[in-house]
């Protein structure tokens, strides 16, 4: 269910089809029943965990459903969606969040990957350290950062004050001006190691000879990066960017723990808003499942549209370069 696990598959190129076997050489196909039985568990899981919920959503988009009673409301959910400013604000917040996250995380991951690629002493240790946050549960990292961002006794404020960078303590999580920054710090911390690793793997496949000849031609480090590393990495970069974009749009677990969308709805991204509609919040247990289902579809469409637009742009850039 974790988005992270689903993500990295998209990188996989289409698998090599099974080798064609000469009909005459081939043994008689057998074990059809066994094969069917072996496939059954995963098919049952596919039906229950993926297909059934998907169909279920369509069943309820025209209903007002509070978890106990479902009442058909026709197109009321649709009209409500178009006039629901909270939802559209959460869409804007999602875009804002995704934009800033990508602007920070991709260059950071790229720079770190380039540094690691210099084969400095202890590179594999650094790589492991940068990757470490990605193995920790997002919910726990969210919690760790709540401690760090705490206003009075949080260590971040204390350090900033000790160093003298700041006079009065910042209320990171409750201040309209800082909540998004706090969420951003958490998501960059938790995620950049992932993308760094993709870049590092991509760079190891760039031939050493290319670097050597560029050195002989007298290219400096910056030139080498822009003229060799970046162009040769572009296929990887494109895939990683797509993963990062779809990933950023789907983030809400860490935000839920850190700010729960607050203050006000400053960090209320769309999937978090939907979660609250479907499962109720602590202070408002009223569930609006039918409406939430419709918004979920809308959110999926938005993410899909962004992915398609990105792919078109990436392709266009490909033709130009």
């Amino acid at each position: 269910m974790s988005t992270y696990d689903k993500e990295h598959l998209q990188l996989r190129p289409t698998n090599r089809p099974p080798r064609p076997v000469n009909k005459k050489m081939r043994l008689k196909e057998s074990g059809g029943l066994a094969a069917g039985l072996m496939l059954t568990p995963s098919l049952i899981f596919l039906c229950i965990c993926s297909i059934y919920p998907f169909i279920w959503i369509f069943r309820y988009i025209g209903y007002n459903y509070n978890g106990f009673v479902a009442r058909p409301v026709g197109f009321a959910n649709f009209t409500r969606m178009f006039s629901d400013t909270t939802f559209w604000n959460s869409v804007v917040t999602t875009f804002e969040y995704a934009f800033w996250k990508l602007i920070i995380i991709i260059p950071l991951a790229l720079i770190m990957a380039v540094l690691l690629n210099q084969k400095l002493r202890g590179s594999s240790f650094f790589r492991g350290a940068f990757f470490m946050p990605t193995v920790i549960a997002t919910s726990i990292s969210g919690m760790i950062f709540t401690f760090i961002f705490a206003t009075q006794n949080g260590i971040l404020n204390n350090i900033l004050q000790t160093v003298g960078l700041m006079g009065t303590p910042i209320n990171w999580l409750m201040d309209q001006g800082f909540a998004m920054e706090a969420v951003m710090i958490l998501s960059v911390w938790a995620g950049f190691g992932n993308y760094m690793l993709y870049f590092v793997t991509g760079m190891t496949s760039i031939s050493e000879d290319v670097y050597e000849s560029s050195r002989i031609d007298g290219a400096n480090a910056v030139q080498t990066f822009f003229k060799i590393t970046l162009p040769m990495l572009s296929p990887v970069l494109k895939v990683v960017l797509m993963l990062a974009i779809t990933g950023a749009f789907k983030d809400y677990e860490a935000i839920m723990v850190l700010t729960n969308g607050g203050p006000g709805s400053r960090t209320n991204v769309m999937f978090l808003y939907i979660f609250k509609l479907i499962f109720g919040t602590a202070d408002n247990a009223r569930m609006q499942i039918g409406y939430g289902a419709l918004l979920s579809l809308m959110a999926a469409v938005i993410v899909g549209a962004v992915t398609i637009i990105y792919n078109l742009v990436a392709k266009r850039l490909d033709d130009v370069v």
Binding site: M38, F54, R121, T146
Partner: protein, 290 residues
């Protein structure tokens, strides 16, 4: 490649630059490790010290009372047990399901194979978020298993299976078919070929799947949170710790929360340190490398 590198001689200027870059990496590492170290070390502080704050990372006085309190008063023994059941359950199920399916997808040709495979792929891209937990929850209530951890284990394994099936299928594709044929000639049935010949050869990918699915189960948060809304005794660590935070007396229980968070991250960190190869390998296996 490393050999080529070793031949390079650096000028003094380059050496300085490399030294500075190294320092930059050390600095970044400290920044990245800091939050985790802060919590782990903080879990040995007295609550008094935590609440006062200050920029001390190391405890003034080391105590383990927080762990004893968490274990005995705050139900952490139960949370830990649940986390273990959840992660091991997801791991075992994922291993069984995905290797069988991956093997069949790789070796068998049957009607509709491409379509089924396509559906698996499609549902990795379709993401409707948390809404799909609602029908699953109602289903669990319907068949009356919602008072156990079973639905969380099953649905988590079911939700993540596609990834592992793909990993497994890719790996089986690289195992020569001649092996299967030889086994068949020797009289193995289809299942025996899988179980006795192929499965032992899948060890690297089994390790990757085991570790990724263990982490998936251990770190699962939203689903167990929804499924254990009313039952504290079913909560895994991720949910249990966060419930303390929402409990209202937030500030008072900082020491318990620090200890709880540490209990939740130490096992996965140990697994990561021991098997980091598989974590990082699994991420990029057959992916960027092609």
């Amino acid at each position: 490649m490393a050999k080529n590198r070793a031949q390079i001689v650096y000028s003094p200027q380059q050496k300085t630059i490399r030294g500075l870059l190294w320092l930059l990496l050390v600095f970044m590492t400290l920044v990245v490790i800091f939050p985790v170290a802060y919590v782990i070390l903080g879990s040995f502080k007295e609550n008094q010290e935590l609440l006062l704050g200050g920029s001390n990372v190391f405890p003034q006085k080391w105590i383990i009372q927080n762990y004893i309190d968490a274990w005995e008063q705050a139900n952490f023994a139960v949370y830990t047990k649940n986390s273990l059941i959840l992660s091991l359950g997801v791991m075992v199920l994922s291993l069984i399901i995905s290797t069988m399916a991956g093997y069949v997808f790789s070796r068998k040709n049957f009607w509709g194979k491409e379509i089924i495979y396509g559906i698996f792929t499609a549902f990795m891209f379709i993401n409707v978020g948390s809404v799909s937990l609602r029908p699953l929850y109602e289903l669990a209530v319907g068949v009356n298993i919602h008072t156990s951890l079973w639905p969380v284990v099953l649905f988590s394994a079911g939700g993540g299976q596609a990834t592992y099936i793909f990993l497994c299928r890719g790996y089986v594709n690289s195992v020569p078919r001649e092996l299967d044929e030889a086994a068949r000639i020797d009289g193995c049935t289809f299942f025996q070929t899988y179980y006795q010949i192929i499965l032992p050869m899948l060890k690297p990918v089994l390790a990757t799947i085991a570790i990724l699915s263990f982490r998936q189960g251990w770190n699962e948060y939203i689903m167990p949170r929804v499924f254990t809304m009313t039952n504290d005794n079913l909560r895994p660590l991720t949910v249990g710790v966060n419930m303390l935070k929402n409990a209202g007396d937030g500030a008072a229980a900082w020491n318990i929360m620090f200890a709880g968070a540490t209990i939740a991250i130490i096992p996965i960190l140990v697994v990561f340190i021991c098997f980091s190869r598989y974590f990082m390998g699994g991420l990029t296996a057959g992916a960027v490398k092609g």
